[in-house]
Amino acid sequence: MIAQIARRIDIRPLRRDASARDRQHRPQTRHGFYILLLLPAMLLLVGLLATPAVYIVWLSFQKSTLGQDPAFVGLANYAALVTDGAFWRAAWNTFAVVNVIVYGELAFGLAVAVLLRRVETGRKLIIAAIIAPYAITESSGIVMWRFMMEPDVGVASRLLDGLGLVLPWDSEPWAGLALACIIAIWHHMPFTFLILYAALLSVPKETQEAAAIDGATAWQRFWKVEVPIIMPAILVAILFRYIFAIRLFGEVWLLTRGGPARLTEVLAIYLYRETFQFRNFGLASASGVCMLLLSLLIALPYLYRMAKEVRRDA
């Protein structure tokens, strides 16, 4: 706003100095220049992501095997998909795991954010330590957790055994997925934490003080005053974590390979094995379309809001 006003005031008289010819040519050269600048980003996105995403939809209506021309088969691939037990198992596992991860992370991240706000000594160092897992690759993360949870000899598994909490992740499907959830939460909690912490810091002190004067307890102040204020940030954290958690692959793959007997597969692993191990491109592309639609559906509120914001931002 201020910038626009300043421009109107200061620059107008100076602009008259520019030649009329220059002024006429400017908008066109500008647009040409802008399109040139957008080109690399657009080529990357369209060539490597958008086109394949559209192509997989087409592929899901084709019967396609290696070395043969594809033939249109209508919804046959989807019909095969909904009768495939492994797909439903993977879908159910994904649903359970994603919800545990997203809400587990939210509760944990929020608790840590609230805790840290009260800590004064060494806060920067503590935040650095909390963020550290964000910098670690899935496979190194699995190295750590498998080492700690190695049956009978790992530090953490011995500790859990001592407490009577046995987590037989290498034999029981539920335990394998539970460990994958723990590792995923360990890995991604920094993201949720940072968003919520930034939001909590921006809550004005006055609102809290006012509530305190009105006799609200700390607990009431948090749930009735602060949580509503940081709700937008909470929703952003939930939405982003949903979209990214659906992609879950490495944690489960490196832990259980989807086994035993395909019982711990999640959708990304189902898709991977149907494509690269069983060469069943029909099932693979149909399940890919399902993942695609699911992701876009979850992202819809965010995309809608951003589109509105961009439109308004004139």
Partner: protein, 277 residues
């Protein structure tokens, strides 16, 4: 406001210690164990103090020489992904910050939509094409894919950083006879440096650690370090924990240090990219 009863303070300190343990113990365990003798690694009771040895690192070099070439691949891929993503995002972000026409806005939203696509899904149709182009197992395909996945976040981050640069500076430069390229390079680029550092941090962490694409699109020549570490975990002969720890330590220490050194940019980037209020 602060409740400073001793018990409350004690509980708070205990909670902080628990959070620190949760975040750091797995990392420290692997890093310190990489300097232990192999027979000390699973020792009971847990050995806190020991004489550091490089034995695991020499074992790693002997058993898994491919790890060191994979490290080189990771460096190459990360470096060029950063370059490509920075250039493409800076250019696009500048356009989005300075234009009001609908077509540009549509393309900005298009970027966000593409960002929501799950990576594994695009591998199905891409794989045969990549093979056909003989790009399989090349650094190039990883660089292009990584850049494609981060260019949308990058453009939006750069958009918000460039938007803070007063347009008057550009107009003054234009009056002085600077061309559009010169304005972009000499006026905007230096002022957007902070945004570029923030974006570099995100891209380094992503490209250095990415697992799925690297596993699918490389076999040997361009295999990156995270994939080799994953392979070392799934050998039929049983895991060589000492060598795995050495590999994980080499892989994670540089990037953890970078993230810790630049963490304030991480926060700036997150709030620019994700939470726009």
């Amino acid at each position: 406001m602060h409740d400073d009863r001793p018990l409350t303070r004690l509980l708070r300190a205990a909670a902080v210690m628990a959070v620190l343990a949760w975040s750091l113990v797995p990392i420290l365990l692997v890093v310190t164990s990489s300097f232990k003798e192999p027979r000390q690694i699973f020792e009971v009771p847990f050995r806190m103090f020991f004489i550091p040895t490089a034995e695991n690192f020499t074992t790693l070099a002997r058993l898994n020489p491919e790890f060191f070439s994979s490290l080189r691949n990771s460096i190459i891929v990360t470096l060029f992904t950063v370059l490509l993503t920075l250039c493409a995002s800076f250019a696009a972000g500048y356009v989005y910050a300075r234009t009001k026409e609908t077509a540009y806005k549509v393309s900005a939203v298009f970027m966000l939509v593409v960002r929501m696509l799950p990576p594994i899904v695009v591998t199905v149709p891409l794989f045969p094409v990549v093979n056909w182009l003989a790009l399989n197992d090349s650094h190039l395909i990883l660089i292009l894919l990584y850049a494609a996945f981060y260019v949308s976040l990058g453009s939006w981050m750069m958009r918000s950083f460039v938007a803070q640069i007063p347009i008057e500076l550009e107009e003054a430069a234009a009056l002085d006879g600077a061309s559009l390229w010169q304005i972009l390079r000499l006026v905007i680029l230096p002022l957007a440096a902070q945004g570029l550092v923030a974006l570099t941090l995100f891209v380094v962490v992503f490209a250095w650690n990415e697992y799925v694409f690297a596993m699918i699109f490389t076999t040997s020549n361009a295999r990156t370090a995270p994939v080799v570490i994953g392979e070392m975990l799934s050998t039929a002969e049983g895991v060589q924990w000492g060598a795995v720890f050495a590999a994980a330590t080499i892989q994670l220490v540089p990037v953890v240090l970078i993230v810790l050194a630049l963490q304030r940019f991480l926060i700036a980037g997150l709030t620019a990219g994700a939470v726009k209020s």
